[in-house]
Each structure stands twice: as C-alpha cells, then as structure tokens.
C-alpha cells in the first residue's frame, strides 16, 4: 500500500490555480525529493496534503485513507521562516510540541514525552542546546530543532519543506544521515529540495513540479535534462545544465 497517493489535485488561492491536476504516488520506505522552481507550488502541495489549505478538486490518500490528524501518521517540518523565532520558548519546548498530538486535550506532556523530546534533540546533535532560547540559535540549529520536533511526532510519513536552506555542509550531511536512518526504519520522507546538484545522491525518487506534475518516479529515470528543462523552462542556468550533462555521461 502506497503511503501517499495524490490524484488530480487542484488548488487555487484566489482564482488562478497554483496546482493543477497534480497526480503522483509515493512508495513506502523511500526518500522522495520534490523539485521545482520558486512559486511552483511545492509548499502549497504539502499544505494541501496536510489539509492546511482547501483543495478545489482531487483526491489525497495517506495509507489508503483520507488524511486525519488524529491517526498521527504524518510528521511535518514547515519552512523555517514560517514561525516567529522570538517567541518566548526554548529548544526542548519546541520539540515537545511534536508530542502534543499524542498527549491529547487537557493534559500536559509528561516525563516520558520529555525523555522522547530529549532523545530527538540528541539525534540531531542539539542536546546541549535544550534550554537555549530559540532566538539565540543559529539558522542551522533552528532547522535541527524543527527536525527534532518532527521526529518527536513519531510518524510514518514525513513532509519537510526545504530543511537544507541556510544550513552548512556539515549540518546538511547530518540531516541526510538522519533521513537515511528514518528510511531504514521503513519511514517515507518527502523533502522539498532546491539544490539540483545533490538530487541524485540524496533521493530514491523525485517528483518534478511546476503547477502540474512534470514527472514523478525513480530518480535515475525521471531526473533527466529533458524533464528538468520542462520543469524550469528557461530558468535552468547553463552551469547546472553543463553539470547535469557531465553527470549523465
């Protein structure tokens, strides 16, 4: 059973459709890259799948069912810029928010939840910063905290919106290690990604998006110069083209 199936999804903010007739399926236990230019609708796609914005048409199935938050099968890492990092709270507290779905109404996260949250901080190498106010973390550290929070959700499918933006090479490696670890545990991870150079190295599958699905499938089949040119139009820089050609030889 495929963890994510999207059929003919159409989403419009005002009148103009931002996503039009998007269809794709995602196999279980794989790392999937969602690739497309700025404004292609990548974030919108994730939000629509999570039910954060209404869809105009189409079907979305998570493990064969309509997405219900209370099933707790989905973890989410929003774009880092989407929250106010001056909020009066510390790293551990933010990771604990990943447990809120498990805790339920009228209860506070308990000792067990705190332990899980600490463990998740450790997995992203941030346990030393547990009590650090979040505004006093670097961009890469904030990104790791977001990742730890998603881990604390203990989900089966993860959606991550640009987790590599603003992180250094070492952090990027650490994050990709972690994603591979999730994969080994049989989890499915969908990642919005911008760096075309690393796509082949990181992802088993890709989904090329620009308002429509341009192509989706195993990376070696789908991540071709032809498909990329169709995705990016004239915006694909010559440098990237050259490098892709070199890689394809």
């Amino acid at each position: 059973m495929n963890p994510v199936v999207v059929e003919n999804l159409t989403v419009a903010y005002q009148k103009k459709p931002v996503l039009s007739n998007v269809s794709f399926e995602v196999p279980e236990g794989k790392l999937i890259g969602i690739i497309g230019p700025n404004g292609a609708g990548k974030s919108t796609l994730i939000k629509a799948i999570l039910g954060l914005i209404p869809k105009a048409a189409g079907e979305i199935k998570i493990y064969d069912k309509k997405y219900r938050p209370k099933d707790r099968v989905v973890g989410y890492v929003p774009q880092r810029g989407s929250v106010d990092w001056d909020f009066p709270t510390n790293a551990l507290d933010v990771v604990l928010m990943g447990r809120y779905g498990h805790v339920g109404w009228f209860k506070r996260p308990g000792k067990k939840d705190t332990e899980i949250a600490m463990e998740c901080l450790k997995k992203v190498g941030m346990e030393k910063y547990a009590n650090r106010q979040i505004s006093q973390l670097s961009g890469g550290q904030q990104q790791r905290v977001f990742l730890a929070r998603a881990l604390a959700q203990d989900a089966k499918v993860y959606f991550m919106d640009e987790p590599f933006v603003g992180v250094d090479a070492a952090t990027e490696r650490a994050i990709i290690e972690l994603l591979n670890e999730l994969k080994r545990q049989g989890k499915t991870v969908l990642v919005v990604h911008h760096d075309l150079q690393t796509v082949k190295e990181y992802f088993d599958h890709v989904m090329l998006l620009n308002v429509n699905t341009i192509a989706a499938g195993p990376t070696e089949e789908v991540f071709t110069l032809e498909n990329l040119t169709r995705t990016y139009g004239g915006k694909l820089s010559f440098l990237e083209k050259d490098q892709l050609i070199v890689e394809q030889k």
């Binding site: 939000k47 039910g51 928010m97 779905g101």
Partner: protein, 292 residues
C-alpha cells in the same frame, strides 16, 4: 472595607486579568484586534441592556462575548475574502462601534451609560456601585465582575495552555496535528471581550487597551519563557494599578489615566533597561563587541 482599598483591589484585579490575557495578544500580534474589540463591546453592553432592561453583570458579559466574537468573525471573513487585515479591522470596528454609539443616544435616557464614561471609565465611583449576588453580601459590581472573569480566564488558559501556546507559535503545525486553530482564536477573543467589559467601569475602553497590551509587552522583554511572561505580566499589571492609584491621589488627577500612564512608564523603563533585550544592554554589548 475602605473606599481606598476597594479601588486598589479593583484596579489590581483589572491589572492581573488584563495582563495575563494580553500576553497572548502580544505573541499573536493581535493588539489592533484587541483595540477593536475593546470598543465594539460597547455595542454588546447596549444590546444587553435593551434585551434585559437592566445593567446586570451577566447580561453584560454575554453581550460582550457575542459582539466581541462578531468582531473577530467579521474581521476574519473580510480578511479571508482578500481584504487586508488592518483594513478589515478598521471597517468592522468602526461600524459596530458606530451602531453602539447610535443605540446609546437613542436609549440615552434609560441607560446609565454615556459614551464618555464608557471610553474613559471612572474607577472613583466603583466602590459605590454595589450589587448583591446570591448569598454574597453587597459588593462592588466591578469587583464581582472582574473576579468572575479572572477565574474564567485562569481556568480556560490553564485547560488550553499547550493549545494556546502552539497555535500562537506555529499555527500551521497546530493545524497539521488537528487542532482547531480558528476556534482557539475565537476562544481567546471571547476572553478578551469579557475582560474588556469587566474592566470597563474602572478604566474604560481606551485605557483597557493599555492595561491589555503594556504589561505583556513589558514582560515579553524580560523573559524567554511563556509561563514566566504570564506571571510577570500579571505582576506588572498589579504594580501599575497600585502605583497609579497613589500617584493619582498625590497629584490629584484621574486614577484610571494615572494607572495607564504608569503602565506606559514601566514599559519605557523595561524597553530601555531590560538586562537582555533592553535598548541599553543591546547598545552596550555592541560597543563591547566593537572594542574587543
């Protein structure tokens, strides 16, 4: 109890209630919406009077919640329809407030409420406006209303603490884990409405905004923890009320005006001198960094 202690108690209760509720307004950047609600609840009070033919506290609270939520929902709907948020607030706020003003002038002879009083409040009269609830002795109405609202606010914030926190910090994540983000927003706006109405007699619609926003804004600059922020905000609210009262009797000026002014002064001091986020400490660290 003496006249003076009643004013101090009522002022402090308004300080605590407004201070705690106001923290969430700061964190959600909703100060303008709170300003709007503090004015439109005037309409709620008038409607409550027209329906119940009395100035009974319970009806006033209900009227406030109804019109406060009407304000919040109206703003949300206009905003959702593509109108900018500040414009939506401006339109809904002035419209509902204007209806309130017209109704007051129509029923002016019956309602013991004039626009000046509603806007400015008069805490001086609070000790004489007594009512009798249930088995309780006769007590000042403002005291009873504020105590009731404080209890309601504390219970709601206590019950929904983590939901209020996550919807303030990351509404998208909150929605993704299935929390009714909009409902929690309206719940908070309901609290703001009853808080405003209960503080009306004492401080009025304009100054209540100072009591709602200033303590939370000061507390925000003093701590990095939400629970401490709530505590500090309550403390600052009370201090401003007490200091404001004595300042007013010393200078022989309006008590509620003085309380709001002290709130402003406290904020200015914190803004300048807060050890971590104050203007001076930030300047100082910059200088130190440059010298190193």
């Amino acid at each position: 109890m003496s006249y003076e202690s009643w004013i101090l108690i009522v002022g402090s209760l308004a300080g605590v209630t407004c201070g705690i509720t106001g923290c969430f307004l700061i964190l959600r950047k909703l100060s303008m919406l709170a300003d709007a609600i503090s004015h439109t609840v005037l309409l709620g009070i008038v409607l409550a009077f027209i329906v119940s033919q009395s100035m009974s506290g319970i009806y006033m609270l209900i009227g406030a919640v109804v019109v406060g939520l009407l304000t919040a929902v109206g703003v949300q709907m206009l905003h959702h329809a593509g109108i900018q948020e500040d414009a939506s607030i401006g339109v809904v706020f002035t419209f509902l407030f204007a209806v309130g003003v017209i109704l007051i002038t129509v029923f002016a002879d019956d309602v013991h409420l004039d626009v000046d009083h509603a806007l400015m409040g008069e805490i001086t009269f609070v000790p004489w406006d007594l009512v009798q609830w249930g088995f309780l002795p006769e007590l000042p109405k403002a005291f009873l209303m504020l105590s009731t609202v404080l209890v309601i606010n504390l219970v709601i914030i206590g019950l929904f603490y983590k939901e209020l926190k996550i919807t303030s910090f990351d509404p998208q994540m909150a929605a993704a884990i299935g929390l009714p983000v909009l409902l929690i927003h309206y719940l908070l706006m309901g609290l703001v409405s009853i808080t405003t109405v209960a503080s009306f007699d004492s401080v009025g619609a304009i100054l209540v905004v100072a009591m709602l926003i200033a303590p939370g804004a000061s507390a925000y600059l003093l701590t990095n923890k939400l629970s401490i922020m709530l505590l500090l905000s309550a403390l600052i609210g009370v201090s401003a009320a007490v200091i404001g009262y004595y300042l007013a009797s010393w200078l022989d000026v309006s008590i509620s005006g003085s309380m709001a002014t002290v709130n402003g002064i406290i904020f200015a001091l914190v803004f300048l001198f807060s050890p971590t986020k104050g203007l001076l400490s930030r300047k100082f660290t910059m200088k130190k960094l440059k010298m190193d």
